[in-house]
Structures are given as C-alpha cells and as structure tokens.
C-alpha cells in the first residue's frame, strides 16, 4: 500500500477549505483581473491593439477586458504621445478611475516625451499621474507590453492591500471647503 506525502493542499483532507492571508487572497484576485483603460494616443496604441489581438492575446493574463469607461477599469495604459492639450483629459480620466488603480507608461513618449522635445508635448506622463511601470521602446513590441503588465502583476502581488483598505487614503481627496456658518443675529 503506497503512502502519499501531502506537502500541498489536498482536497481529500481539507475539503473546501484553503488557509491563506487576506492580503495574498485580495492581491491574487486583483492581480488576475486587471482591467486596462486603453489611453491610445499615437502609434503605441497600434501595438496595444496587437497585444489584444490573437497573436499575442492578452486574455491569457485575464486582461482582455479593455474598458473604455474609467469606472470599469483599474490600470491605465498610456500608450502614445501626450500633448499638453491632452494632458488634462488623461488626468481627468485617471481621476475618474476607481481605486485601487495603476498606470503603465508605454513607450518613450509616455515615459519621457520621447523624440518630441517640443513646445506641445508633455515631457513624461509622470508629471500628471503616478506611474507604476515604464516600458521602453519606440514603439515597444507587444511582448514588451506583456512584460510590463506582468511587472504590474508582481507589483500588485506585493501590495499591503488590507492596510490600504483600512486607511483609504492612498490618493487623498481634495479637502472640502465649506462656507462658514452664518453668525447668529
């Protein structure tokens, strides 16, 4: 009669019970359900589309749910040249995304302004939104974007998410300015 060594989870013994840390569980869920908000502004957006297409197939990472609504996305992929005129829109969409949220600066332009050293281009999107992952390349190949997305997954995995949930001040909301109470006559 062969004896089994059960070093790992064994459904025969533990049934439907898995023991883990809440942080790990939350991060595992978040990590495998990153919904990108495509911010396709220039040529990089074509590579972003290629990542969504069959050859590179971003759905292997559970990220194929490209949401064109900031309310349903949690990872903004800024792919392309951000001009000063567009910066306002990028920031506004970022503000409308639900917490927790991450930002990927895809390609040279989004990271630093790229070859556009000119009066019209924002020199790096990190001046207006906090960037988690920078991807080099002009444009980066789809594999590079997938690599960047895997880096985001690694980052999500390490987050103290329960602490963040308790604190709820990762991105402080602007203070409300109330009118002073009217003086009693």
């Amino acid at each position: 009669m062969a004896t089994e060594n059960n070093y790992a989870y064994n459904s025969k013994i533990e049934g439907d019970l898995v023991v883990t840390k809440l942080d790990t569980a939350i991060n595992w869920i978040r990590k495998h359900s990153v919904w990108p908000m495509p911010m396709g502004l220039a040529c990089c957006a074509i590579e972003l589309m290629a990542v969504g297409a069959s050859r590179f197939d971003i759905s292997r990472f559970g990220m194929e749910v490209m949401r064109f609504s900031p309310r349903q996305a949690d990872c903004m992929i800024v792919s392309g040249t951000v001009t000063y005129k567009m910066a306002e829109v990028v920031r506004r969409i970022y503000d409308q995304m639900a917490e927790p949220k991450w930002v990927v600066a895809m390609g040279a332009c989004a990271s630093t302004g790229g070859m556009y050293r000119s009066y019209a281009v924002l020199q790096g999107v990190d001046r207006i939104v906090p960037v988690d992952v920078y991807i080099s390349g002009c444009p980066p190949r789809p594999e590079a974007l997938l690599d960047g997305m895997m880096k985001i997954q690694d980052k999500i995995e390490r987050e103290p998410s329960v602490k963040n949930l308790m604190n709820r001040d990762m991105h402080k909301a602007p203070e409300k300015k109330c009118k002073p109470a009217p003086a009693h006559a």
Partner: protein, 206 residues
C-alpha cells in the same frame, strides 16, 4: 518658372507679378486682388482644389514680415499654381478669408492663425485648432523657440492638483530629428550634438 497661365494672370490683374519658383508656376498677388484671382482661377481655369493655406514668417525685422501662401490644384488639368500675398501689417497681419470660395479653407486658415497669428478677415469661426484656446504664443513664428516657452497648463484644476506646468522641453543636444544621410539603419531620430545637455552646457568656443 514661366508659364502661359502666369502671363495671363499678370496681364489680367494689375499688380500681379511672376514669382520665382523651382517646381510649379507661382504668382505674387496684392492682398486686395487675392479673392478675385482665386475666384477667377476656380471658375475660369478649373483650379477646383485648394491644397494648402499657409504662410511664411520672414523674421522679426523683415518688412513685409508675413506672406500668405496658397496652393491651388486642378483635378481635371493636373496643374498646380502657387499664389503669394504679402500682409500689409507686420504686427497684426491680416489676410482675406477664402472660406467663402473653398470650404476647405476654413480649418486651414484656423491652423495658420494658430501657428503664425495671421487673422483672416471674414472667417466664420477663427479659433485655434491645434493649441488650446488661451495659449499665449504663435509657435511657428521665427522668434518662438522650438523647446517652447514657460506657460500654465490649459486646465487650472489639473495644474493645481499636480503642480505641472508647460515648460520648455529639454533640447539635450537637439533638435531631435532623423539624419537625412547614411544607411537607413543609422537614421533613427537622434540629437545632432550629444556633447551637451541642460545640466552640462556646451563649452563655449570663443
């Protein structure tokens, strides 16, 4: 470049003179004749396509400083013609609008207004089209540096939340463009003189 059409224009319109050109026939037109010349070319000479509306800034101390440039094409005769009109005022340049003759002139003129600050008289909607509405400069004017000039972001609330401003772009040995010679594999855009950058200025030669 001589052509029968240029001769015809200079005979028909008093004040029009032939303009030097290496590609297509070109004519200098006084501003007050511009509309009638374009209309005549469109209706009598079948120049039915307005290709370009742009302008030249000759430099701050030149007079006339601004020259409006128009390219017309004929889709039936396959000919091009270039018209040039000097703006009379060097400080507040003005040209008549062509948008009544060619609807395409509408946004072409908006772009020229945006980049060079030439106002088109009679334009139905002369707003900026590339830069934001309250941008204080005209970027294609000669005195405007490629890197840009310090101003405020177009959105006040975003500027307040992020502290970001419109700053001159670091030139870093630029301008940054593709070399026009050499092997294609070596023609990626690059700064021409990488010996200096904003942190380490170029050693003075004199």
């Amino acid at each position: 470049m001589e052509s029968a059409l240029v001769e015809e224009i200079t005979k028909k319109f008093d004040g029009a003179t032939p303009r030097e050109s290496i590609d297509h026939p070109a004519v200098n037109i006084p501003v007050d004749l511009l509309l009638s010349v374009v209309e005549w070319l469109r209706d009598e000479k079948s120049f039915d396509l307005l290709m370009d509306v742009t302008a030249i800034d000759w430099s701050e101390d030149a007079s006339p400083r601004f020259t409006g440039i128009y390219h017309l094409a004929s889709t039936t005769k396959h000919e091009y013609i270039r018209l040039a009109s000097n703006c009379e005022d060097d400080v507040e340049p003005e040209l008549p609008t062509l948008s009544k003759l060619f609807p395409a002139a509408n946004w072409h003129e908006r772009e020229t207004y945006d980049m060079l600050g030439i106002r088109y008289k009679g334009h139905p909607d002369l707003r900026r089209i590339l830069m934001w509405d309250d941008y204080p400069y005209h970027p294609l004017r000669k005195e405007f540096p490629l890197a840009g000039i310090d101003t405020d972001l177009p959105a006040a609330d975003v500027a307040e939340a992020t502290g970001a401003k419109v700053i001159p772009a670091p030139m870093m040995g630029g301008p940054f463009h593709a070399p026009q010679t050499g092997a294609m594999s070596k023609r990626e855009p690059r700064a021409a003189d990488q010996s200096w950058n904003e942190a380490k200025p170029k050693p003075s030669t004199n």
